[in-house]
Amino acid sequence: MSENLLEVKNLKEYFPINTGFLRTTPLKAVDDVSFTIGRGETLGLVGESGCGKSTVGRTILHLYKPTAGQVIFDGKLVGPDTIKEYRRRAQIVFQDPYSSLNPRLTVADIVGEPLDVNKLYKSKKERSERILELLGTVGISSEQMTRYAHEFSGGQRQRIGIARALASRPEFIVCDEPVSALDVSIQAQVINMFEDLQRQFGLSYLFIAHDLSVVKHISNRIAVMYLGHIVEIAEANELYHHAVHPYTISLLSAVPVPDPERARASQRIVLEGDVPSPLHMPSGCPFRTRCSRATDKCAESCPQLAEVAPGHMAACHNL
C-alpha cells in the first residue's frame, strides 16, 4: 500500500492538428503535468476554459492515449496489463448531463453497464439488486429505473451519471465539471452528494471546475492550470489566502464576493489580452504575455514548480 492512491508523472497530451496539406502541428493540451492524490483526498483542478483541465482528467483515465508520462495507480503503473483493473477502480462523471447518458437505454441499463462490462454479478437478480441499491444511493426511486434519460431533469441525470460511476465500486473518480451545467440550487445538492459518497465509500476525487467557490468548498488541495501547465498547487486554504503566482492572484480577485462593502474594497486584477493559442505557445513561461511581473528571464526559460511554503508549490521566476 503506497501512501498516494494516484501519482501522475510528467503527463503530456498533444493532439495533432491538420495545419496544411499532409502537415500536422501538435496542439499541446497538457504539457508536463505532475501531481499526486492521496487516499480519500479531493484535488481541485481549476483554470479558464481551454486550459486543458478536462484533457488532464481524461488522459489520466487513459480515455486519450497519453503522448508521454506515467500514471501510477495504487503503486502500479497503468499499462496494457493493468488497464482492465484500472478501468474498474477509476471512473468519471461528466459535465454535460444530456450527452453523457445514452438516449436509447433505460436508466437501469445505463447504471448496469459497468456491471455488464466487468461481469460483476452472477445472476440477473444480483444485477438488478445492485442497480436498485445504486439508484437508491443517489436518490432515484425504483419505479423510475425503467425510464429513459430524457424523462429526467438535469440534476437527476447527473445523479444517474454518478450512480453509473459508482457501479463498479471505484476508489477514484474524476469529476469533470460535474456541476457547471446545473443551476445553483441543484449544484449544492449534487456537491453535498459527492461529499457524502466520499465519506461513505472512502473515495478520492479529482474535481475539475472553473467555479472557484465550488472548488474551495469541496477540495483538500487545489491545483491551478494555465495553458496546459500547472502553475500553482497548494492546500485549499493556503491557496486562497497566500496565493503567490500572479495568475492565481488575478483568478482569485475575479471571484464574486456576496458582500457589496467588501466587494467595493477589494481590487480586481484584470488580465490584459487573450489566452495565447496552444498551437503557438509563447517561449519560456506560458503566462508571460499577460503577466505584469514578466521580465526577460521569463521569455528564456519555463519556470518549474518550486516549493514556496510546506506543501505549497508555484511555478514563477519572480517570487
Binding site: R87, S99, L101, R104
Partner: protein, 346 residues
C-alpha cells in the same frame, strides 16, 4: 381528526361529507407516473398519425400479401399456355371457354386478360410483383448489412482507416451506376448461368446477378450515412463513459452506436427499396433481368410494347403496379423520416 363540515341546506354546493380522505397509499398511486416511452414507440406513434404514410403502408401490405398468397390459390400458373385463348381482353372468354361455360362448368375469369401465348395476365403481373418485391427487400437487406458494417468500422476507428475506407466508397460512388450495373449483370450472369446449383437454377441466373450487383454497388450510400452518424455519436460523452467502464469496441458499436443510428438506417433502407425495384424493372425492361419465362414487372412492360396500340391494358397493369409500389415506398420513406427524425422535417 375527522371533521364533519355542516352543509347549508340552501346551498347548491356538493355535500362535503360525501368526500373521503385519501389514504397515503392512494396518494402515492396518484403520483404514479405516466408510462415510460421508448424512442421506438414514440416514433411509431408519430408514424401512425401520418395519414399519407399509413395509406402507403396499407397499400404495400396489401400488394405484398396478394403477391404472396394469390399464386398459391390461383387456378392458373404463370407458365400455363392456352393457344386458343390468345390476346383476350379483361374478363373476356375464349370460344373454348364459352363452350365449357355453356356446358355448365365453372371457368375462372381472366381478370386482366391473356397475353400473346394465352397465359393468364393477372397471375403474371402478380408473380412479377412478387419478383420485384423480393428484389427490393433482399437488396435492401444486403445494403443494410454491408453498409452498417462498413460505415461503423470506418467511423469508429477513424484516422487512416477511415481515410482509406472512405476513398474506396468515393471511387464506387463516382462510377456511372447504370453502366456498371449493365456490365456487371451481363458478366455475372454468364459466369453463374453455367452453375448447376439448385438455388441458382430455382431463382434464375438473372436474379442472382441482380443481387450481387446490388451487393457490390448500392451499399455505399448507407455506409456514408452510417459513418456520418457514428462520427457524431463518437463525440458523445456516453461513449467515453462506456470506454471508461472498460467496454470493448464491439460492445460500444453494438450497444451505443448502432442503436443511435437506427433512424438513419431505417430511412435509408426504406428509400433503397424503391430504387432497387426500379433498377430491377429497368434491367428487365432492357432484357438483362430475370430469365424467361419468369415474369417481372419490367419484362412484362417491355413485352407489352409490341402490341401497345391494340392491347394497351398489357402495359397499363405492370406499369401501374410499379408506379404504386415505388410511390408508396417513397412516401412511406418520407413518413419514416419525419417520424424518426422530426428535426429533418422542413
Amino acid at each position: 381528526m375527522e371533521k364533519t363540515v355542516k352543509k347549508n341546506p340552501l346551498s347548491f354546493q356538493i355535500d362535503p361529507n360525501l368526500f373521503q380522505r385519501a389514504s397515503d397509499e392512494e396518494k402515492a398511486q396518484i403520483v404514479t407516473q405516466r408510462e415510460s416511452v421508448s424512442f421506438m414507440r414514440d416514433a411509431m406513434r408519430r408514424l401512425v398519425h401520418n395519414r399519407m404514410a399509413m395509406v402507403c403502408l396499407v397499400i404495400l401490405v396489401v400488394i405484398t400479401l396478394v403477391a404472396i398468397i394469390v399464386p398459391m390459390v390461383y387456378p392458373y400458373t404463370y407458365t400455363q399456355q392456352d393457344v386458343t385463348a390468345k390476346y383476350l381482353s379483361p374478363f373476356e372468354y375464349s370460344a373454348k371457354e364459352q363452350a365449357r361455360i355453356a356446358a355448365g362448368q365453372k371457368v375462372f375469369p381472366h381478370i386482366m386478360g391473356t397475353d400473346n401465348l394465352g397465359r393468364d395476365y393477372a397471375i403474371r403481373v402478380i408473380y412479377g410483383t412478387r419478383i420485384s418485391l423480393m428484389v427490393g427487400f433482399i437488396s435492401a437487406l444486403i445494403v443494410v448489412f454491408i453498409g452498417i458494417l462498413y460505415g461503423a468500422v470506418s467511423g469508429y476507428f477513424g484516422g487512416k482507416v477511415d481515410l482509406i475506407m472512405m476513398r474506396i466508397v468515393d471511387i464506387i460512388y463516382s462510377l456511372p451506376d447504370v453502366l456498371i450495373v449493365i456490365l456487371l449483370s451481363v458478366a455475372i450472369k454468364d459466369v453463374i448461368s453455367t452453375s448447376k446449383s439448385d438455388l441458382i437454377v430455382r431463382l434464375g441466373a438473372g436474379m442472382i446477378s441482380i443481387f450481387i450487383v446490388f451487393g457490390l454497388l448500392y451499399w455505399v450510400g448507407m455506409a456514408r450515412q452510417v459513418r456520418g452518424q457514428i462520427l457524431s455519436i463518437k463525440e458523445q460523452e456516453y461513449v467515453l463513459a462506456s470506454k471508461a467502464a472498460g467496454a470493448s469496441a464491439m460492445h460500444i458499436i453494438l450497444k451505443h452506436m448502432i442503436p443511435n443510428c437506427i433512424s438513419v438506417i431505417i430511412i435509408t433502407a426504406a428509400m433503397q427499396i424503391p430504387s432497387a425495384i426500379f433498377t430491377e424493372s429497368f434491367l428487365s425492361f432492357v432484357g438483362m433481368g430475370v430469365s424467361i419465362p419468369m415474369p417481372s414487372l419490367g419484362s412484362l412492360a417491355s413485352d407489352a410494347r409490341s402490341g401497345l396500340v391494340s392491347y394497351p391494358y398489357m402495359l397499363l397493369f405492370p406499369a401501374l403496379t410499379i408506379f404504386l409500389i415505388v410511390l408508396s415506398f417513397n412516401l412511406l420513406g418520407n413518413g419514416l423520416r419525419d417520424a424518426f427524425d422530426p428535426k429533418l422535417r422542413s
